[in-house]
């Protein structure tokens, strides 16, 4: 099973990096949004909580712009049936999840560096900030992978993706924003335990998605 998942991940990466348009658009979207915010802010000193809100809004919409693509592409290119013949739904899910986690972590790294650089933010608890970005990004990628599969089957594109993702992602955004705010102003080191919430949330969503993915992917 592992080698088959690796083969599928390799296929996805090869296709995405040969035809770079989708990945480029995701990275460009993340970069442009961050730059626009810093340009409009023009050096205005925001309180930490405002920084945290803007930062996670940029990450949320970057996820909305790029993470459903991996499934939508399979539907547009009529590959989903061939994939279903060769791979089990669980193998497809795991490989797409890994792809999305890697892609979104890369987007998050770019957004983080651009944000910290252009808005001149220096977190007091750097390790907490780093953990929040990583665990929050994994949680966002976990949720959007299964919802992206649903959207690809509905054929409605990104507006539906945003509508159905927002309520499910709110606990993640809520917690990540408060953690980021604390890590910037350095007000509460006890907040480290909320990282467990983000990781547990990802774990629960991935487990349920793994079990229920076949109902989305296979046509009964």
């Amino acid at each position: 099973m592992n080698s088959r998942i690796l083969k599928n991940i390799k296929k996805d990466f090869l296709i995405e990096f040969r035809n770079r348009s989708a990945v480029n658009i995701s990275f460009a979207f993340a970069g442009i949004t961050t730059l626009s915010v810093s340009l409009v802010a023009g050096g205005t000193p925001f309180p930490p909580v405002v920084h945290a809100i803007i930062f996670w809004i940029i990450l949320f919409f970057s996820a909305m712009s790029g993470l459903a693509h991996i499934f939508i592409r399979e539907e547009e290119e009529k590959n989903s049936l061939f994939l279903s013949l060769y791979y089990t739904p669980e193998e497809i899910y795991i490989s797409k999840l890994i792809f999305n986690v890697v892609l979104f972590l890369s987007i998050s790294v770019i957004v983080t560096f651009l944000y910290l650089f252009f808005l001149q933010v220096l977190p007091s608890y750097k390790f907490l900030f780093f953990l929040t970005v990583v665990s929050g990004s994994i949680a966002i990628a976990s949720v959007t992978t299964i919802l992206g599969a649903m959207v690809s089957k509905a054929g409605s594109g990104s507006s539906l993706f945003t509508v159905i993702s927002f309520p499910v992602l709110l606990p993640v955004l809520w917690t990540a924003i408060s953690l980021t705010s604390v890590s910037i102003d350095g007000s509460g080191v006890q907040e480290y335990r909320n990282i467990i919430f983000l990781l547990a949330f990802s774990g629960v969503i991935v487990s349920v998605s793994y079990l229920s993915f076949k109902f989305i992917w296979t046509e009964f």
Binding site: V208, I216, T218
Partner: protein, 227 residues
């Protein structure tokens, strides 16, 4: 509908429900600080309970769609109808809650954790209906929307039970609170529980009626397809 069911319902709608409303408006004593305005409690709490009960009902039927091969069509309209009644009760909860907030906190909306949690429940319902209508031509529509409700169900306990307890809230203690005690005097408690019971029975009746309509529509459609 069978005759005794109809009689029971008429008795319920024309005698028991108005009696409970009278209890709420006239018999129960007003609360110490809020005065007469506190009577909105007997309407706000039942509709809030029902918005969560509807969500659980929709989630239950969705899980059954996924794990059971039988009665898929029946389960589909039941989960849809539960969500449909759920969104109505959620809107009623938001409206009664914001009236109460205006009276006791001075503004209609404060982004209190509990207000936020009910708005998110409403967003989940809206998203469910958006997905359901977008999947109109998909043969897997029932299963895909069921998986969405299942995933949304997982996030609900965080909103309804966990976050309002972690973040400071102005909201009064709920019936299911940390001390497991209802902070009301005997008459208010009796009225509140009577109100919750009548609203729940009313909800059951409306839900049943909607399911019967859906069942008839389904049969009609099957008949038209056969012809």
């Amino acid at each position: 509908m069978k005759t005794y069911n109809r009689i029971l319902f008429l008795l319920f709608v024309f005698i028991i429900m108005p009696a409970v409303f009278m209890m709420a408006l006239l018999w129960a004593p007003p609360a110490e600080f809020l005065g007469e305005a506190s009577r909105i409690l007997y309407f706000h709490v039942p509709v809030a309970c029902l918005s969560v009960i509807s969500f659980i009902a929709a989630g239950y039927h969705s899980i059954m769609i996924l794990i059971s091969e039988n009665n898929i069509e029946e389960r589909e309209y039941k989960s849809y109808n539960a969500a449909y009644t759920g969104i109505i009760f959620t809107i009623l909860t938001v409206v009664t809650g914001s009236i109460w907030a205006k009276i006791s906190w001075g503004s209609y909306w404060n982004w209190d954790p509990r207000e936020t949690s009910i708005v998110i429940l409403m967003l989940i319902y809206i998203s469910y209906f958006s997905l359901y209508s977008a999947l109109k031509d998909n043969v897997n529509r029932t299963r895909i929307s069921s998986v969405y409700l299942l995933i949304a169900m997982i996030t609900m306990p965080f909103f309804v039970f966990i976050i309002p307890r972690i973040y400071p809230s102005l909201h009064p203690d709920t019936i299911i609170n940390a001390e497991k005690k209802v902070h009301l005097d005997a008459a208010m408690r009796l009225t509140l529980f009577a109100s919750v019971v009548v609203f729940t029975i009313f909800y059951g009746y409306v839900f049943n009626l909607m399911n019967r309509i859906s069942s008839l529509e389904l049969k009609l459609q099957e008949k038209q397809n056969d012809n």
